[in-house]
Symmetry: C2
């Protein structure tokens, strides 16, 4: 959620045709050599040779309408590949949370909220988002859970809801990225419902559900 | 914490000489054939051919003073084996939490609190205990952390502290075990400071720190 899934939502909100998530930077550069736009981030920093990093503001003002973008990030793109055998894989962030919850509620399927975390570890920000999403789904009445990790995530969210930015100030990710001056990015990613887009994984790439 | 580490504390509090944690029931029965007492539990239930299950009350009134007990449980013994390359491995439960925190505080070492969980998944009860222990260590002043999972565990504990039994009523483990009528076991395991014993792993078995 900080920042890969938020960036994916922003790309589609700005008219991208598709996003191709790849695990390695090398693979991303191969796509770039074929003419795709390429976004590459590791440890919070845009990598050499790439058109974009992992900031939602990279995609504002850039002409990405109708473009295909290959994307490789520290954690997010790996999570997409880990999940790709699921019935459907969709992308969530606070930026599209209500639209996503509504879409999930209409599917009539069980939902697993897969948190990308940070380098295979638990992180607060993704768990908070998972709790926020679970909270909406449960409140809507069609979902229930006795999964301990979901119960804990909902509780985290309830504790943080009044001031998510303040709550995340204590998290390790904020400290990891503090020197990168990403406050503006983070505050932007904590906005809810900036878009109704549902990025969905089809074959080898993400497209906007119902879109082009 | 529900119930393997609590049972281990109870065994030493009742004078056991050592506990040999083994991963499989077959291995435990091999030890039993050599004359050891054997405790075997899977999915909350004592297994056939074993002297004990995983209830702390199994060890009250039994003559285990000076005895060596081989133990195999669904999650707890696997966690001990996963951790055994650490500098030292000690066992924690609410039953010995203050003594354990005091001991850890005196070691001058970093601490990883490894939650056994349930079948390789997160569970509420172990995370709550981890939060309680981290809370004591941090409050004592010699420890600090920016680990997100520790921050989340402490927050869970702070939410649950006033009524841990009630809080756990919602957890999946309680539902898993509800039909086994383990309320008495669970309430017992939530008692704090029933013993000062520190079970410590040495070579292939747990012994009471400073004990025989």
């Amino acid at each position: 959620m900080l920042r890969a899934t938020s960036v994916i939502c922003v790309c589609f909100a700005n008219g991208a045709k598709s996003i191709i998530p790849v695990e390695t930077l090398e693979e991303a550069l191969e796509w770039k050599a074929k003419g795709y736009l390429a976004a590459g981030e590791r440890n919070g920093v845009q990598q050499k040779g790439f058109d974009f990093g992992n900031s939602p503001f990279s995609y504002v003002g850039n002409n990405i309408k109708g473009k295909e973008i290959v994307l490789s990030t520290t954690n997010g793109t790996q999570a997409i590949h880990a999940a790709k055998k699921a019935h459907k894989v969709v992308i969530g962030a606070f930026l599209n949370i209500s639209a996503l919850a509504h879409w999930l509620d209409n599917q009539g399927k069980d939902v697993i909220i897969l948190c990308a975390g940070w380098k295979n570890k638990f992180n607060l920000e993704d768990s908070l988002f998972a709790g926020a999403l679970a909270n909406i789904l449960i409140s809507a009445g069609n979902f229930k859970t006795d999964c301990d990790s979901t119960l804990a995530a909902v509780l985290l969210y309830e504790n943080a809801a009044k001031d998510i930015y303040g709550f995340l100030e204590q998290s390790s990710h904020r400290k990891r990225l503090a020197h990168l001056k990403l406050e503006k990015d983070i505050r932007y990613c904590l906005n809810t419902d900036k878009t109704d887009v549902i990025p969905i994984f089809q074959l080898d790439r993400l497209v906007a559900y119902g879109g082009e």
